[in-house]
Symmetry: C2
Subunit: 716 residues, 2 copies
């Protein structure tokens, strides 16, 4: 039931960085110019590639000529300087990264931009910092031969936000029920092995390199549910964090820690963790000082407070702003950040009480606090109001805090989307979320901010009557990682594509998820990209929709087995305190979240969406049961009744899985046999599980509604 | 959720053996005569009691006079000798127990009978063996002053069966999901502490004394699900078993081990555990010889084979008789027993398949093997065809194997009956099962065997046309223990009464469960027996029925949360592979197990019950949904519809819990405050849980049926 993969003695799969991904660079004459630790990383990568593929590599010293180079990678700000200067004397300008202090003392967010020029097939990548140079290198890797082909070009690349983070829900001590990695489906932790930080961090190094290649620049290395042992990473076990941070630093990635709000009690021996208590504040000031003394480029703290049993400021009658700002003051001298999760709700709700709506909770708690958070607090908001369901409306909190740094939180680990046993490519879901505009109808683009804009601080606020434009504080992106010590990193080899797409969308949220699949395929299967790519597209392009088809219908969510969240159980959460109900009876199903007759959740959206969701006639089909309770005979915009939609999508979902399997089988012999074996094993489970979902869901609703399938298919 | 109680540093509660329980003996002039280890135990008990309460104790030497004794406890066979002989010269006849070998070499089942005589207030207990003497001592303890009052008496007491066993589902290593004690609700194990047999076995000694006082004479000390570490009790860790056996021996209790059928592979390094393989048989012969060498009065092996994932003979195409008889041959030279569980079914059933019926499985597997088992194999049969539900029909296997030693298996631990958080006295359920007659209609007594008769080998078979009578081989009783290292032994202090009643019913299955409650109260609360007794009766007399009222209705069973089995989840097992379904739809509910239209299970009973259960018009209400699928509007014998019965019993069940709490509150200050606190804490949880059951069940069936409560009470 855990989906954990057996430990393998094989070397980890190279994922999107097989040696052949460097062939285009490796065949050329390359110069790397500039100092700084990451320029050294770039030079090592290029040296290895040219050695392997027969190219030539030189590390530029000041004054060396680079006239015959096909590729120059160089630190040379500013970017708008004429390119000829660079080509002739790369590195002659002192670079931002080339200081005597070294990278461990870089506190602020470095400029990660780079300039790419191509002139008669000769390419220069110049960057103002060594981290920008690393980004440029992997840009070339992604382009492959295309980097050197085509017309002359001069492009400047920069990320949409400096905050591109992965959260690891890894436990130092394997948790009695949650295991080594909470909601992890890829074996053990790459960081920890039942009570200890691993002595051998070579796997972490490989991971950091993969993340660098997709642009991730921050990682939180322990679970947001902070247990006793994990709390000590902040104090007694800080030396282990130093070791891990040193590995990530080589790849331009800063380390964050999840901390317990009760640390002053648990670790400091105080009797309180009241954020307004002076001793508490001082304890955090000292704790932060120790961390930054040891790790000068440390990122900050992630906090899950007053959530699902975690301690928080509510115990002392304080607000979440009180709690977050006290921590923010402690880390501010070090330019540290506080990621404060907005995932706060009553997880001990009475299922009998229809007036309490968990979906409302984050908005009700946080909207009133807009403007109250310090400048280095980021409020981290899950994409939907519930919990990473395969279909939820976009969280209205994202639109409700114009004066607050908001991070959009996604979930790369497939907790509710097949747990890396099912092939589900989440790129399209994330892309849809990132592109959602709160202040415009679906499909319109009148320039109002998208969700990506709101997270990256580049939005235009429709509500700002004064100027019509403002720059919103930026919080960036965070997501729960899907990796473990599994041979393929992610359990299901295809789940690598999700990690890949997440990193790339953080860099540029407007990227097309289908094109990202192409990138992933061409890097991962360099020799067989065409045929394998076709098959991967056939399998993954619509896999999110397929998963939605055979699981909970029309946005109603959950219906999973309680606890582990794998497999169907329609009533599994229906009579629990968790606040996730569907209210199905013999006549109908769905949650009335309208303002007029329901919980009022729809009113948390700005216009036009509050009206769109409020009305049964305009609410999109895919979210119908999230917003409305309707009879099984209600006719959807699609023209089908709800009950027939349930039957049809569940049969269709399984049929699609069968077609996915067929598409893959045509190319399965073209890839590494172990890769194929793993995919085959996962497909068998996906088909079994999808069939189980289909039959349970159909049977449940047939027994309840008594309405037969129009097409007379088997329902039990 | 686990129901485990926090560990306490307090001394364990004395349960039914507080010092004051010995007052009547302790005040008198007592002589204990006779040798043997258990006579020594008796003497120690009496010496302590007389020292405490001011009586006089003497240990008789041969030739001593006993004329002035008020109580003589003596080894003096035969029991039909004139009592005067005993009174004058007790101990002058060599006793069965007084051998030089000592008790460790007693292999066979010793005679546990004793004779009780009272003449002018002077009492003699004589017994042919020292174990009989120990039984007689505790008979006096139970009687208290009444032993010495009233008219002259001359009674001989003997147990209904020599086989009165408790099975402990304790794990040496705490199991990742099942914990230290599988289905244990009383803290940790008294035997093991996460990986080790406890160095301090004083708690086991106290436990053995409590068991001796109620007549238990065999214990299996490890879980029937035998994991890797536990398997080694048979070999490497045998020395620990020797230590435990030595403790129990002092109290006339023999130790058994649960063993894995795959032991020859796991422990012996063989490649097979095929019961017909010579090496396998020889391995078991040697293993048995080693055990009996170390523990000459060892009892035998308990085996759960081919059940819920445990290994068994099916893997080799062999029958359960093949498997059991191979083991039986290995233990036969040592007069050992094999308890072979009949709990065999397909736990990977497809819920879509309505032709497979788990209730049929034990009969289908074992009935054809009647007569094929060796004489020292006992087939251990759970009381119902499913799994210890609060209401099941009595298992037809009990009637189907006239040539087989059958043990009736009960469950003292309250897995499905409130997990020792709910006050549920199971004595009435067990009494009803023990008194059930397969060959006669309810309430009749034409002399046909009861279930107790079938287990104790004293039945008359209605089906035997030749003589009308036969003596059936006896298998006795077994039950799963409910104790742990909890301060009160059993989590809920009232759950002590279940352990008490089980032991006493094993000795005499015809005892009245209400009278056993009186015994338990008068021993446990010697100073406050009247008022406390009234309250205990008000709480416990109908508590089984109360629990049934607020949980799954009309014999349909389950509806519990999967895995831990606590709390309601109507559909929790409905779409699982476990074979426990209710088939509720919008029109009706229940499982058709008739011969005419259902699974045929009803046909496994002899007449008249096969006809009684087959017909909707004669099937008892309380088992209606076990045997029939009916509309919610079906009218019960009670005159109520099924749906109104569900509503009424669920409201009534909670009201009864409230009355139980009221009854206890009147006396709660009369007992030890810690006892009262624990009871109060459990009552609060019982009321919460019963209310949850009521509301979930009522809501589920209201949503499904759409039929309103006649009385308009709150349904959600």
């Amino acid at each position: 039931m855990t989906g954990a993969s057996p430990r393998s003695t094989h070397a980890p799969h190279p994922a999107w960085l097989p040696d052949d991904a460097f062939a285009a660079i490796g065949r050329r004459r390359v110069v790397v110019a500039g100092d700084g630790a990451l320029a050294g990383t770039v030079a090592e990568e290029v040296a290895a590639a040219t050695a392997r593929f027969g190219g030539a590599f030189s590390r530029l010293e000041v004054g060396d000529g680079v006239a015959d180079a096909e590729l120059v990678l160089t630190l040379a700000p500013p970017l708008d300087e004429p390119i000829e200067t660079i080509r002739i004397a790369a590195g002659s300008t002192p670079s931002a990264g080339s200081t005597d202090e070294g990278p461990a003392t870089r506190h602020d967010d470095a400029d990660e931009s780079f300039r790419f020029t191509r002139e008669a097939g000769s390419v220069v990548v110049q960057a103002p910092t060594d981290i920008g140079l690393l980004r440029g290198l992997f840009h070339l890797v992604r382009l492959g031969e295309a980097a050197f082909e085509g017309p002359d070009a001069d492009e400047t690349h920069a990320p949409a936000t400096d905050l591109r983070m992965l959260d690891h829900w890894d436990n130092v001590d394997a948790h009695p029920t949650m295991g080594q990695v909470e909601r992890g489906y890829s074996g053990g932790s790459i960081f920890y092995d039942n009570g200890f930080v691993r002595a051998d961090l070579s796997r972490v190094e490989r991971y950091a390199r993969l993340l660098a290649a997709v642009g991730i620049n921050r990682v939180a290395i322990n679970n947001v549910n902070v247990n006793e042992h994990e709390a000590r990473l902040l104090t007694d076990d800080l030396g282990d964090v130093v070791r891990i941070a040193a590995v990530f630093r080589r790849w331009g990635i800063r380390v964050h820690l999840s901390v317990s709000f009760a640390s002053p009690i648990a670790l400091g021996g105080l009797t309180t963790s009241d954020p307004l208590d002076r001793d508490v504040a001082h304890w955090w000031v000292r704790a932060a000082a120790r961390v930054w003394d040891a790790i000068p480029d440390f990122g900050g703290f992630v906090v899950k407070a007053d959530s699902e049993g975690q301690p928080g400021p509510f115990a002392y009658g304080r607000t979440h702003a009180d709690g977050a700002n006290m921590l923010a003051a402690a880390v501010e001298p070090h330019e540290g950040l506080i990621h404060w999760r907005a995932f706060v709700y009553d997880h001990r709700q009475d299922w009998r009480d229809r007036t309490t709506d968990r979906a409302r909770a984050a908005y009700d708690h946080f909207h009133p606090l807009d403007g109250a958070f310090s400048g280095n607090v980021i409020v981290q908001v899950k994409y939907g109001p519930l919990d990473f369901q395969v279909r939820e409306p976009v969280s209205p909190v994202l639109a409700a805090m114009p004066q607050t740094r908001i991070a959009l939180e996604l979930q790369v680990t497939q907790e509710y989307s097949g747990q890396q046993r099912h092939a589900v490519y989440l790129g399209p879901q994330w892309s849809q979320i990132l592109g959602f505009r709160f202040w415009e109808a679906a499909g319109r683009d009148g320039g109002s901010p998208t969700v990506a804009d709101l997270a990256t601080g580049r939005g235009k606020a429709a509500e700002d009557p004064g100027t019509g434009t403002w720059r919103k504080p930026a919080g960036g992106f965070a997501a729960v990682s899907n990796v473990g010590d599994d041979e393929f990193w992610t359990g299901h080899p295809f789940a690598q594509a999700n990690l890949y797409a997440y990193g790339r969308l953080c860099w540029d949220p407007t990227l097309d998820p289908g094109a990202l699949l192409d990138e992933w395929v061409s890097l991962t299967f360099p020799g067989e990209a065409d045929a394998v790519g076709q098959a991967v597209h056939a399998v993954l392009d619509r896999s999110w929709e397929t998963y939605e088809q055979y699981t909970a219908p029309l946005g109603v969510g959950f219906m999973v087995r309680p606890g582990h969240h794998y497999g169907p159980d329609v009533d599994g959460y229906e009579y629990t305190p968790w606040g996730t109900y569907h209210f199905a009876d013999r006549d109908g199903i769905g949650v009335d979240r309208t303002v007029r007759t329901g919980t009022g959740y729809a009113g948390q959206y700005p216009s036009p969406w509050r009206e769109t969701y409020e009305s049964l006639s305009t609410c999109p089909d895919e979210l119908l049961l999230f917003f409305h309770h309707v009879p099984y005979t209600h006719v959807l915009h699609s023209g089908k009744t709800v009950i027939q939609h349930i039957y049809d999508t569940h049969f269709e979902g399984v049929a699609r899985v069968e077609r996915m399997i067929g598409a893959w089988s045509a190319v399965s012999t073209l890839v590494d046999p172990r890769f194929s074996e793993r995919v085959a094993e996962r497909f068998a489970e996906q088909l079994r599980s999808a069939t189980e979902w289909r039959d349970q869901l159909n049977t449940y609703f047939f027994r309840k509604s008594g309405i037969a399938d129009e097409r007379g298919r088997s329902i039990y």
